[in-house]
């Protein structure tokens, strides 16, 4: 009897030791499967919309036809999975409502990101013309200094567009001289310079409505600007972009990715519960051993 109990206790301790030292690569494997399976077999889980995203949607929706939206592509390909869907959804919405769009970039790679997004969405709207309905003014180094210069005029900072066409030859830019002619500014930002610079200069100094789309990592600190009214809306990470896609009723990669996000988060929560159970079992085992 005693031997049997000791054997059982020894086996239990052995199992706890094994569970305590589970190879972290199993976790990676589970996460990988949790991402791949929903991508191959979409679950179409419901995606609710939040007020910060709805605020941007409603603002764009309520702007009169022909309003000017400035989109700043302040990110690089490393974060394109989070910000490309947001840019595409916003641009699609702007073209649907027949608004004019000016693209600029405060990040070097933002230029090529903007070109790809414009090229993709332009195909859905054959009536849209570059130069007349939208322009891509490209990248300029300087961050805050560039934003301060927008008050003096676009032509001084961006003498040509991304195809080296002089700004004077672009019909849209003949109507839009400086930031005062812009109705909404949206920074698609993965860091610095980005939303914070737009809040500090374009909103605080020039009084223009500023909205943002940012990576999920930087979303929590942007919420302070929402509460203070310095940002009119925010698309935080893939979730924010997915919400905008839902509002547009045009699901894209962001909506597809949310299935995987949900499953991965469930897996992570299960791992946290599992590790806590193992921890408490181990503590219990140690206490029992100490009593003996």
């Amino acid at each position: 009897m005693t031997d049997n109990t000791e054997t059982k206790t020894g086996a239990k301790a052995n199992i706890i030791d094994i569970l305590k030292n589970v190879d972290r690569r199993y976790i990676f494997l589970f996460i990988l499967l949790a991402v791949i399976i929903p991508i191959l077999f979409p679950l179409n889980l419901p995606i609710g919309t939040s007020a910060p995203v709805r605020n941007i949607y409603d603002f764009v929706e309520d702007l009169p036809e022909g309003s000017v939206i400035l989109m700043s592509f302040d990110y690089s390909p490393s974060t394109e999975i989070e910000l490309d869907p947001a840019a595409e959804a916003l641009l699609r919405h702007a073209f649907r409502k027949k608004h004019k769009v000016i693209g600029i970039a405060l990040w070097p790679m933002g230029l090529s990101q903007a070109q790809r997004v414009f090229a993709k969405i332009e195909k859905e709207f054959p009536e849209v013309e570059q130069g007349k309905d939208y322009v891509n003014l490209g990248y300029k180094a300087g961050g805050s200094v560039i934003l301060m210069g927008l008050k003096e005029g676009f032509a001084k900072i961006f003498p040509t567009d991304d195809k080296d066409t002089p700004i004077a030859d672009l019909p849209l830019m003949n109507k839009v001289k400086d930031i005062s002619n812009v109705d909404l500014v949206v920074s698609l930002s993965a860091g610095v310079p980005g939303i914070k610079e737009y809040v500090a200069i374009v909103n605080t100094q020039f009084g223009k409505p500023v909205a943002g789309a940012c990576t999920a990592v930087s979303a929590p600190e942007m919420y302070t600007f929402l509460d203070s009214g310095q940002l009119l809306g925010l698309m935080g990470g893939l979730k924010g972009a997915a919400e905008y896609e839902q509002l547009l009723q045009k699901p894209g990669n962001a909506s597809l990715g949310m299935d995987a996000q949900s499953i991965v988060h469930i897996v992570i929560v299960l791992f946290i519960i599992f590790s806590n159970v193992v921890y408490f079992m181990d503590e219990h085992q140690k206490k029992q051993a100490a009593l003996k």
């Binding site: 690569r25 990676f28 996460i31 990988l32 991402v35 791949i36 991508i39 191959l40 690089s76 390909p77 490393s78 394109e80 999975i81 989070e82 070097p108 790679m109 230029l111 090529s112 490209g138 990248y139 300029k140 180094a141 805050s144 200094v145 301060m148 003498p159 914070k196 809040v199 500090a200 200069i201 909103n203 605080t204 100094q205 990576t215 999920a216 990592v217 979303a219 929590p220 302070t224 509460d227 203070s228 009214g229 310095q230 935080g236 990470g237 893939l238 979730k239 990669n253 597809l256 990715g257 995987a260 996000q261 991965v264 988060h265 992570i268």
Partner: protein
């Protein structure tokens, strides 16, 4: 960044007419796209192989990434910053000078010689014997950034944020009816900010019914903020993995079928 950059570079530079093949999606892929996509896929696998263990393939992809990123950034900086903002301005300035058209425009363009000199002085940091020269342009940059930063930060991130916490704790609507939800939100904001600030006041021990309670509540508020930040960070990292998996599904798989004719 590297994968997409390389994909674009290869796609642009290779002959798109050769090896044209119909992909599973019905999109025709050129040689450049197929090769670029395969390179991107292999390099993605090289990077992910680090999750198993450190290995030479990972090192190769990592070093390639650093090199390509640095090269791309330098080329972009030259074509988008140095060329239009310095070389072209000076060219125009000297052109006007040589024609004898010495006016405001000529001097304005020639004035760019000053930032040009400061830029060269900055590069002298690489020469050990005269690296002290780099301190001058550096001090100029620090001074400029500080000056701009103080004004912008003070107004946008301090005054506006402080005023956003000066809010009524009890909210009533126009008919004088009490609104509990906005009131609760405002109370949490004010209590959260005050408690957080009290926690970071270290000149008094965090003890006592008022000071101790508030500082403990401050810790709870901070923990909630860290939790939210961690949750969002997890979401961001998973998004990156989703991005690569979507790449494999939407770009690499058509490239596979284009090469091998599979379905």
């Amino acid at each position: 960044m590297f994968f997409t950059s390389l994909n674009n570079i290869v796609s642009l530079n290779m002959d798109n007419g050769f090896f044209m093949a119909a992909a599973q999606t019905g999109v025709k892929l050129g040689t450049g796209e197929i090769v670029g996509t395969w390179i991107a896929a292999l390099l993605t696998i090289c990077i992910f192989s680090f999750l198993y263990d450190d290995n030479p393939l990972y090192k190769f992809a990592e070093h390639l990434f650093v090199g390509v990123s640095a090269g791309y950034t330098m080329a972009t900086a030259f074509h988008n910053v140095i060329k239009p903002n310095l070389i072209m301005k000076l060219q125009e300035g000297f052109h006007l000078l040589s024609k004898g058209q010495i006016g405001y425009r000529c001097w304005e363009n020639l004035s760019y010689i000053l930032p040009g000199i400061l830029g060269i002085m900055l590069i002298l940091k690489l020469v050990p014997k005269i690296q002290w020269i780099a301190r001058w342009p550096l001090s100029f940059m620090v001074g400029l950034a500080s000056g701009l930063g103080v004004v912008l930060t003070m107004e946008a991130f301090i005054l506006k944020q402080v005023s956003a916490t000066l809010i009524p704790l009890l909210v009533f609507n126009s008919q004088n009816a009490f609104l509990w939800a906005p009131s609760l939100k405002n109370i949490i904001i004010v209590l959260g900010v005050c408690s957080g600030l009290i926690y970071f006041y270290f000149s008094k021990e965090h003890k006592g019914p008022v000071y101790g309670t508030f500082s403990r509540f401050g810790i709870v508020v901070l923990m909630m903020a860290f939790g939210a930040a961690f949750g969002y960070t997890v979401m961001a990292r998973v998004s990156l993995l989703i991005g690569r998996m979507l790449f494999f599904r939407d770009q690499w798989w058509p490239a596979v079928t284009a090469l091998f004719g599979g379905g």
